[in-house]
Symmetry: C2
Subunit: 156 residues, 2 copies
């Protein structure tokens, strides 16, 4: 998968967290994901489908990191990943992917977004079933680390 | 959400399990899902997006049920939910949703499928972030019970 598909997601995630949660974040080196890795405690997933490409995006947070982001975005504390927090992860997933979709449309790659799904429960694993590779990108932020995953395949 | 969006999924899931895994299954009464329910040990998820509707579909199995289906489909035993089993859940998700997509296209509802994502790890929960309701449909089968969930929203 070409890096041109990855960079719009990195840029959009960083933008969304900065503007919506006053959280500075920075993408680390992308990794070709070769095995299933147990991710965070809550993961937003969204499907993408277009005439040229289709795929899936996931953003995964530990409980500590998402509760810190929750406090910044909603100006209130939560002790656990409650339904408001799950809704917020769905919203972040939607907005981050929407931003990447717009950046990719400028480069001539059009796709539509499905509605997000949020998975919670400690130690869950995610496997993207696209025929393309899955790229895992760790992020650092001032509230802790989190991960995104992007997988695309060409539509034939 | 109209029942006309649900029935094609019920029909397609029953068909796929009968033809691919020689497994008879029967949908029970659909339930409007009001709270997050911890589902099975492995869940296939797929996003759907079209000009009229977008949404998500999930099919969730306990370890015991999916290993029984695995044995029937692949003619070999697995002791745990390994990567072949995860691939099989992705494939079942894709084919079941593809069948429903074709049935809905005959009724004039067109959408494209994203690539599936498979979530594993005991006791995970799934929240569909569509603006429409989430319909949970329990199934009985000769290897045990499993669940599907369908959520659609109108594209405005």
């Amino acid at each position: 998968m070409d890096v041109k598909f990855i960079n719009p997601f990195l840029e959009s995630v960083t933008n969304v967290l900065a503007t919506m949660a006053q959280t500075e974040s920075k993408a680390r080196k992308p990794i070709l994901k070769k095995s299933t890795i147990a991710l965070g405690d809550v993961t937003g997933i969204i499907g993408m489908s277009g005439e040229q490409v289709k795929g899936s995006f996931a953003i995964s947070f530990s409980k500590e990191v998402i509760l810190a982001i929750y406090q910044r975005m909603l100006m209130e504390e939560a002790a656990s990943i409650n339904s408001d927090c799950i809704d917020m992860v769905g919203e972040l997933t939607n907005i981050a992917t929407g931003g990447a979709k717009n950046l990719l449309a400028e480069k001539g790659y059009e796709f539509e977004l499905a509605t997000p799904v949020v998975v919670s429960g400690g130690g869950h694993q995610i496997d993207h079933m696209s025929k393309g590779p899955t790229i895992l990108i760790p992020f650092t932020s001032d509230v802790g680390d989190f991960f995104i995953e992007v997988s695309f395949e060409a539509v034939t």
